[in-house]
């Protein structure tokens, strides 16, 4: 009986032991970081080492600029070694790490600095074209990077060289906040600035910026024409002087110039042209009656010319009117020009028909070989007495006749 109790006691004891919580073995494990280096250079072989009293293989959490990952250790002679993958150790910047063991209390950080040599000088220039005169500027921004695309450390010297006409300039600037920049101002002449930069004995490509002429200043206009007659046939050509900016640079080709022609009655005709080598031209057909034009040109909102005055003499001093076919055919002509030659085709003649000072009908026709013929239709104008006014080239004649 006693023995049974003993067995039972032992059995119960065993059962209790089986269900009792197993002692947390890691409690006794002592892990310590034994790597002391806090600064590495990009692409260094980085190994974080920990001494451990027992063989455990916790992960290492690794967090850099661009992301985080977990690293598995190798265990050898009570040392845990975490080899940082090269792809991660290439990126410069602060690195935080944590040993994923127990309450993650073992943690730290180190810095990876960029390599002290430049592989690429990334260059950004803008705007690509600026105005001459010294007020406008372009900005050169460079980001020197090492072979692993890390921006070089701050306060690194960068030489900026630029050439314009006979000037060559070399200036030193320093990287700050990952970049270095320089504003390059234009000079009085137009042309092209060529620039380059150098950092730690690595030179960039050649870059250029166009210096365009500044805006034009005042200019003059002139005209050329065959003769001064208002024949409605010849063409007058208007031409500007060479448009220049205030520093004497001829403005860019294609500068738009508008000519405003104001006639005797105050109406405005508008023609335009674009510059070629600084000169803009525009053409206008002669008026067909006596006229005086006042002409002024503008580069819209920027510059204006002097005003010039042109006179056009009337070419037709008088004309004949003949009636035929029961007065229903009215022939105007011959219309003769300044040397008694027949007017070139296309002179406009207007016939207005009045009855008791009321306008009934107006006909417009263009001259052919010096004559214009109006055929008055019996359907519309019944047999009666009418007043006919005929106008051409600024002249007017009136006849009163009976249509049969």
């Amino acid at each position: 009986m006693k023995r049974i109790f003993t067995y039972l006691f032992v059995l119960i004891g065993l059962i209790v032991l089986a269900f009792s919580p197993i002692q947390d073995a890691p409690l006794l494990i002592d892990i310590k970081c034994i790597s002391t280096q806090k600064i590495f250079e990009a692409n260094d072989e980085i190994t974080l080492q920990f001494s451990t009293s027992e063989k455990v293989l916790p992960h290492l959490y690794y967090s850099n600029n661009y992301g985080s990952t977990l690293i598995v250790p190798t265990y050898h002679n009570a040392i845990l070694s975490y080899i940082i993958p090269q792809k991660l150790s290439r990126k410069s910047g602060l690195v935080n790490w944590k040993l994923l063991y127990k309450d993650n209390s073992i943690s730290g950080e180190f810095n990876i600095i960029p390599k002290a040599s430049v592989n690429t000088i990334e260059t950004y220039i803008g705007p690509p074209s600026i105005n001459a005169g010294g007020d406008d500027f372009t900005m050169l921004v460079v980001i020197p990077t090492d072979v692993f695309d890390n921006p070089i450390k701050d306060h690194t010297e960068v030489s900026i060289r630029h050439q314009f006409l006979s000037n060559e300039t070399n200036e030193q600037i320093f990287t700050k906040n990952l970049i270095a920049y320089k504003s390059i101002y234009s000079e009085e002449k137009s042309g092209r600035i060529i620039m380059t930069s150098e950092c730690l004995e690595i030179n960039s490509k050649e870059y250029d910026v166009n210096v365009l002429p500044n805006i034009p200043t005042g200019f003059t206009i002139d005209y050329t024409r065959n003769h001064g007659y208002a024949d409605g046939n010849q063409i007058t050509t208007f031409e500007t002087s060479i448009l220049k900016d205030e520093y004497g640079n001829t403005v860019s080709d294609g500068t738009f110039v508008t000519f405003f022609i104001t006639n005797k009655t105050g109406h405005i005709l508008k023609i335009s042209g674009t510059t070629l080598k600084g000169i803009a031209t525009a053409k206008m057909i002669h008026p067909d009656y006596e006229e005086q034009w006042m002409v002024k040109a503008f580069v819209n909102g920027i510059a204006e010319s002097n005003a010039i005055t042109l006179n056009y003499k009337s070419v037709i001093l008088d004309f004949n009117i003949s009636l035929s076919e029961n007065n229903r055919i009215i022939t105007v002509g011959p219309l003769q020009s300044f040397m008694k030659q027949l007017m070139p085709d296309g002179l406009e003649v207007t016939l207005s028909v009045y009855k008791d000072n009321t306008l009934l009908k107006r006909y417009k026709k263009q001259s052919t070989t010096g004559f214009v013929t109006f055929n008055l239709n019996g359907q519309f104008l019944k047999t009666d007495t009418y007043e006919f006014r005929i106008e051409t080239a600024g002249l007017e004649k009136t006849i009163k006749t009976k249509l049969l």
Binding site: L70, L88, L94, Y181
Partner: protein, 504 residues
């Protein structure tokens, strides 16, 4: 005979012809109207692009005093939005180990660094859920042609959950500074360089307000006509005023309200809802009632990428009312422990921790609590909140022991019973349920226990309801019907016997 046949045939032919015409006309018109319906004409031009808010960490710009070209507000906004999206797509990429989205917000060289890490993580089956909660950017440089910008982002608070083979191995909050070079490419501001530097600040430490005692005799409140929808279209401040008068007259001093997360507009809180909440608080003040505002009602996502939206929501509401006299306390969430099963205890707890920290940094005047559904959960985050609250719907006989046990484990913080009660339902679905009389007995007994132990309390609830929305207790009729009759006042507006024991 044959003439009749002929007429019939004619009639049929004509009829068939008419029918055919009708069918063709109908068919053509159906096709025509089909081609003319569908998308709105304005949508052809893509004039209105609705991008829902997806990432709203707190962003505080330092005063603008940059080198280079002066920056305009519009460009700064674009840069901010693209910069934050760059963070967002990176969070998504590390969560899924996929590369989508990275192309839009990182230049070709910067992408390589991210893809290297993604490839490592994918090979090792490591995923990282992360978000950033705070940014303090300073604009450093803007190039003359407006194509390159440099900024410094100080004290970025990053929260990460690292998983190995879908198992959480690390939860961490980090703080760091970043220097960023951005380039304008294809209309996107893309990150060209990103360099991490040590932060100057350290993380905020949660501060508690020592509260020795809290004087709450209260009730959870919904109007009778609009249960679980206090701030809806049928909002009626006069009814609420009447109810508050009843509550005040019944010797109660506090009410507990619920702010639905979706209903209030998620990250962009709807101004009209804030106005209604203000009216309720003002009315409560007039009626000498204090209000415990329970945030995030009917919210259940908790995913890390949703946090910035939640934080914006809470920031808007808490900063709006932190100085309101009627506020008694902020209840971070109602019964979050019920989401432990579906979302994971660790995730929900972290969410609550961050949210409590946030509310405390915005409002350092009012205490913060979490309305746990039972006493067992109430010890979670006990050090992060100012007073403990738990709900109790079990056997009354064990209330006192439950409270005392809880008090023993949290001796230095007030403990509030923020929900308790019993339904008086005994109908078809539960013929042996409680009667109005036994409900009254329940409250009589409960109040005796509460008074004796000086337990601050808030009962559930003032009214019986005619309807209970599906989202509250689901569709099962025995649950729904029981939930309708927890009130002290029945659907006819008559006080039930339990009303006598509404307070002590």
């Amino acid at each position: 005979m044959s003439a009749l046949n002929k007429n019939i045939i004619h009639g049929l032919l004509i009829g068939a012809y008419v029918l055919l015409v009708v069918i063709i006309v109908f068919g053509i018109s159906a096709v025509y109207s089909y081609l003319n319906t569908g998308a709105d004409r304005s949508s052809m031009l893509h004039i209105k692009i609705e991008a829902p808010e997806h990432y709203t960490p707190k962003v505080v710009w330092k005063p603008i005093n940059n080198e280079g070209r002066p920056i305009d507000e519009q460009t700064l906004k674009t840069i901010e939005s693209d910069y934050l999206d760059a963070w967002y797509v990176r969070h998504v990429a590390y969560k899924t180990n996929l590369k989508e989205g990275i192309y839009d917000f990182y230049t070709a060289n910067a992408r390589k660094a991210i893809f290297n890490t993604i490839n490592l993580n994918r090979a090792d089956n490591t995923t990282i859920e992360s978000t950033t909660l705070e940014h303090h950017p300073e604009f450093l440089f803007f190039s003359e042609d407006g194509q390159l910008a440099v900024l410094k982002d100080d004290n970025v608070v990053e929260y990460k959950r690292v998983y190995k083979a879908n198992k959480l191995v690390l939860e961490t909050t980090e703080i760091a500074n970043y220097k960023v070079v951005l380039l304008l490419e294809d209309g996107f501001w893309r990150i060209r360089h990103l360099v991490k530097e040590p932060a100057i600040n350290s993380l905020d430490i949660i501060k508690n307000k020592p509260l020795s005692k809290i004087d709450i005799k209260g009730i959870n409140y919904y109007p009778q006509a609009t249960p679980w929808n206090l701030f809806g279209d049928d909002f009626n401040i006069e009814t609420i005023d009447q109810d508050f008068k009843i509550i005040n007259k019944a010797n109660l001093n506090t009410i507990r309200l619920f702010i639905p997360y979706d209903g209030f507009g998620k990250a962009s809180v709807i101004p009209n809802k804030l106005k209604k909440l203000k009216q309720v608080l003002d009315t409560a003040e007039v009626n000498h009632l204090k209000v415990i505002v329970t945030l995030f009602d009917f919210y259940g996502d908790y995913s890390v990428l949703d946090w910035t939206l939640n934080h914006k929501h809470a920031t808007t509401i808490v900063s709006e009312f932190k100085n309101h006299n009627a506020i008694a306390a902020w209840d971070i969430k109602n019964e979050p422990d019920l989401d432990f099963k579906s979302r994971g205890e660790s995730l929900v707890t972290s969410w609550l921790y961050k949210m409590a920290t946030l509310v405390k940094t915005i409002d350092n005047k009012h205490p913060v609590t979490i309305g746990w559904s039972n006493a067992k959960s109430a010890t979670i985050l006990k050090d992060e909140i100012d007073f403990v609250s738990f709900h109790y719907y079990k056997d009354l006989d064990r209330l006192e022991t439950t409270y005392k046990n809880l008090k023993a484990s949290i001796p230095n913080k007030p403990i509030v019973l923020s929900e308790f009660g019993i339904s008086s339902y005994n109908g078809l679905w539960n013929p042996l349920g409680t009667t109005e009389k036994s409900q009254a007995n329940y409250f009589k007994k409960a109040q005796a226990i509460l008074k004796q132990n000086k337990i601050p309390f808030m009962s559930w609830t003032l009214y019986d309801f005619k309807t209970v929305p599906k989202k509250v207790v689901g569709n099962l009729p025995w649950r729904k019907n029981a939930q309708k009759e927890f009130g002290f006042i029945n659907t006819n507006g008559e006080k039930k016997p339990s009303f006598k024991y509404i307070s002590n």
